[in-house]
């Protein structure tokens, strides 16, 4: 049964492969902005930039510029300081020209920092604590926390209802990303070469919002499928939870390498909304897409809360999580409840993956946040949905605010340390019921 299922995925993906190999060239891109008197970022228009031996470009009314290059390689790009508007200068005069490494089929962003002559020059030291940074990092933390929560709730509910720690849950996040990318870039069938000429939504990509809905459906189906054809059978056979856990590890590795095999190792981004100008609200820069994604994830999480509290199936879920035998003997169809949990968990993980994917889509993205998801669910209390939500928000906030004092590279480590600390002092998590877990 596992084999049959795998063959289907493999066949599906092997079709997509040839499309990913070809793409539409590469450019060096960027956006020029500087602070105005009020400290708001304003685009800098009409500046000339030159790539040695290739050509030049001028920044448009949003400050954006783009210079296409023919092939991958290292290029030298320079900005012409004489075309900068009055009162605006390069922050670091030595950095008027940069060497950039362009990879094939990928746009490379080159960054020139500009300052306004009369604007106060903000000292950007790694340890500096300013209101602006705290506000910005809080928003970043909330954002990451909300997205994490989408992935964590599924993991936590699956643990609650079946006792299984699902290491492959992160691959559901990646799966959601990749499905959405596929629909967004190629439509339903565009990845099969000879169907590509069909009109959208069949041969050509659909809008990201539509694609995300299909991505969620894909995630839900994958979740359902994993339960129906793998874990339900294992439960029926009485396979121990530790054995099932090792199976999820195998599954995680297997899926990850299916992804990289068919998707390639380099990161991608969605077709729509890829380069947006950030809004500045009070002291915080946030792009409209991130703002929308935060609102949607909040709504999705509220919907989950509503589902758990007020619907029959939600109550059944909580009953199964509370005491499986008691729930079964009071007439709840436990397998159906578990199926719904996997379905919903898969869909939420996929949506989380899409939101994370607004920054970057990569074959091992899920695996890289797996331990953050674990940190979130352990922090909140394994098996509780609200705990996962709170745990995820705390994780997101802690790791982002920690970068006020520590190196950004170490922020994921902070999450693990917090997790180990909580396991020492309150092993059941913030919202978990005290029970013997030690």
């Amino acid at each position: 049964m596992i084999v049959g299922a795998i063959v289907v995925i493999f066949a599906f993906f092997s079709l997509t492969a040839e499309v990913f190999a070809q793409d539409a060239g590469q450019s060096i891109i960027g956006q020029l902005r500087a602070d105005d008197a009020d400290g708001n970022k304003q685009p800098v228009v009409g500046v000339t930039l030159t790539v040695d031996g290739v050509g030049d470009g001028v920044s448009d009314e949003e400050g954006k510029w783009e210079i296409p290059v023919d092939s991958a390689g290292t290029y030298t790009i320079s900005i012409d300081p004489s075309t900068l508007p009055e009162g605006i200068s390069l922050k670091d005069a030595d950095r008027a020209s940069l060497d950039v490494l362009v990879e094939a089929n990928k746009d490379k962003r080159a960054l020139f920092s500009l300052v306004s002559g009369d604007a106060p020059v903000e000292e950007k030291t790694s340890g500096g604590v300013s209101t602006r940074r705290v506000a910005q990092l809080t928003v970043e933390g909330l954002k990451q926390g909300l997205y994490l929560a989408m992935a964590a709730i599924g993991l936590s509910l699956i643990f609650g209802t079946t006792g299984l720690v699902n290491f492959a849950h992160a691959e559901l996040v990646t799966w959601g990303q990749l499905c959405t990318f596929l629909f967004n870039a190629y439509g339903f069938a565009g990845f099969i070469g000879w169907l590509a000429p069909l009109p959208p939504p069949f041969g050509d990509g659909v809008n990201l919002i539509v694609a995300a809905i299909f991505g969620m459906v894909g995630g839900a189906l994958m979740g359902y499928f994993l339960d129906r054809f793998m874990f339900r059978r294992f439960r029926k056979r009485g396979l121990s939870l530790i054995a099932q856990m090792v199976i999820t590890i195998g599954l995680s590795i297997f899926m990850r390498y299916i992804f990289v095999y068919n998707f390639g190792g380099s990161p991608r981004s969605f077709k729509d909304y890829s380069a947006q100008t950030a809004w500045t609200i009070w002291k915080v820069d946030i792009t409209p897409k991130d703002f929308a994604a935060m609102v949607i994830s909040l709504a999705a999480l509220l919907a989950v809360g509503f589902l758990l509290n007020f619907t029959r199936i939600g109550k059944a879920m909580r009953a199964v999580a509370d005491n499986r035998d008691l729930a079964e003997s009071s007439g709840i169809d436990v397998n159906r409840v578990i199926s719904v949990v996997w379905l919903a968990g898969g869909a939420l993980a996929a949506l989380g993956g899409v939101f994370f994917g607004l920054d970057q889509i990569k074959w091992d993205f899920g695996f890289r946040i797996l331990l953050l998801i674990f940190a979130a669910v352990t922090l909140g209390g394994l098996g509780t949905a609200y705990g996962a939500l709170i745990g995820a928000l705390v994780t997101g906030l802690v790791i982002n605010l920690a970068t006020l004092w520590i190196d950004v590279e170490l922020k994921n480590m902070i999450a693990m340390l917090v997790m180990v600390l909580i396991l020492m002092f309150r092993p059941q998590g913030i919202l978990g019921q005290p029970e013997r877990i030690g």
Binding site: S240, F254, E409, M416, V420, L421, I437
Partner: protein
């Protein structure tokens, strides 16, 4: 189709330096999971501790290589205290999460820029093991490669293998003697029923900590061989996938059996390298099917090329782990009764 090259790959890798590393790491994990029932998903953390104990002593402290080996062992013992004291009281699944988190924290820490002067950050530490290779008895003028039937090794690898398999043999001997001693019987008792062991007056926590330290030090030795064989300490070699490979090695051989880590490591590396070599040769071969070579078909229908053939082995590895756990969790030699698979 070059069968000789495939067989050479299979046999050489099956007994090669990689197999030494994984055999040692799996002996350590066998003490943790097989005999004591500790669900350690962070064995690679111990490998990193051993490797960096050695590498940092040479690179940062500028001391001798041999002191580095002692330091590696000390690092492993320190890691045992840091990891064991907070987490050993936890139930199996929590312990698994905590250990994988710890091993990943170590990797993130040593590769961070701030540690550049101590650990070499993401570039790692290179060419630190010359004192070890200076003693190589296989060095000879001219060709540096030895060949015996299907086994082919460079002189340096042969030296690592000689010392490595000797250390493996010693570790097996120690494990064998310890596990039939009263101390080992207490470990097994803890695996079977921790409460019962406690009721008999055994300090289960202390025994678990000792088992963690012993298995961890052996894991640290594995890490040292890993970095000696490549003459390079790279942070990203110590990623969680390595832990899972060690698990696969242990489960293939069979849990709670003395010989299983060695047999498992040999089978694992022979199979993985043999498979990769076979696929490579298959793609390159001039066999024809319906007018095209196999390689053309593979690229057309499966997008399988020489570039991504190495990913296939990881798929097979993941699949193997799943199928083994489903159909034969006790592996080749193990017995099902001795597996600590209850959720305790």
């Amino acid at each position: 189709m070059n069968w000789e090259s495939i067989l050479t790959q299979t046999f050489s890798q099956g007994f090669g330096t990689q197999a030494v590393v994984f055999a040692l790491a799996a002996i350590g994990l066998n003490i943790h999971f097989g005999y004591t029932g500790l669900l350690n998903f962070g064995q690679v953390g111990y490998m990193a501790a051993g490797a960096y104990g050695l590498g940092m002593t040479v690179y940062w402290l500028d001391q001798s290589f041999w002191l580095g080996i002692v330091m590696g062992i000390i690092y492993c013992l320190v890691l045992t205290l840091v990891l064991g004291i907070p987490t050993l009281r936890l139930r199996a699944d929590y312990l698994g999460i905590a250990t994988i988190a710890a091993s990943e924290s170590i990797r993130l820490f040593v590769r961070s820029r701030g540690q550049r002067t101590r650990t070499g950050a993401s570039e790692g530490i290179n060419d630190f093991a010359d004192p070890f290779f200076d003693l190589n008895i296989f060095n000879k003028p001219g060709s540096q490669s030895y060949r015996f039937f299907y086994w082919e090794y460079r002189a340096g690898d042969l030296w690592v293998m000689l010392i490595g398999w000797t250390v493996v043999a010693l570790c097996l001997l120690i494990t064998w003697q310890l596990m039939r001693s009263p101390w080992g019987r207490v470990l097994k008792a803890i695996r079977e029923d921790e409460d019962a062991a406690r009721a008999l007056g055994k300090n289960a926590y202390a025994y678990k900590l000792q088992a963690l330290a012993l298995g961890g030090v052996i894991g640290g030795l594995a890490g040292m061989f890993q970095v000696i064989r490549t003459q390079s300490v790279q942070p990203d070699t110590f990623n969680p996938t390595i832990t899972f490979m060690i698990w696969a090695v242990l489960i293939i051989g069979g849990v709670a059996r003395i010989w299983s880590p060695v047999v498992g490591a040999m089978i694992f590396w022979a199979a993985i390298s043999g498979l990769e070599a076979f696929l490579r040769e298959l793609i390159r071969s001039d066999w024809e099917l319906f007018g095209d070579t196999i390689g053309v078909h593979a690229e057309r229908f499966l997008n399988l090329t020489v570039q991504n053939v190495s990913q296939v082995k990881f798929m097979v590895f993941g699949m193997t782990l799943m199928l083994l756990m489903r159909f034969r969790p006790q592996g080749i030699f193990g017995s099902r009764e001795e597996m600590a698979l209850d959720d305790r």
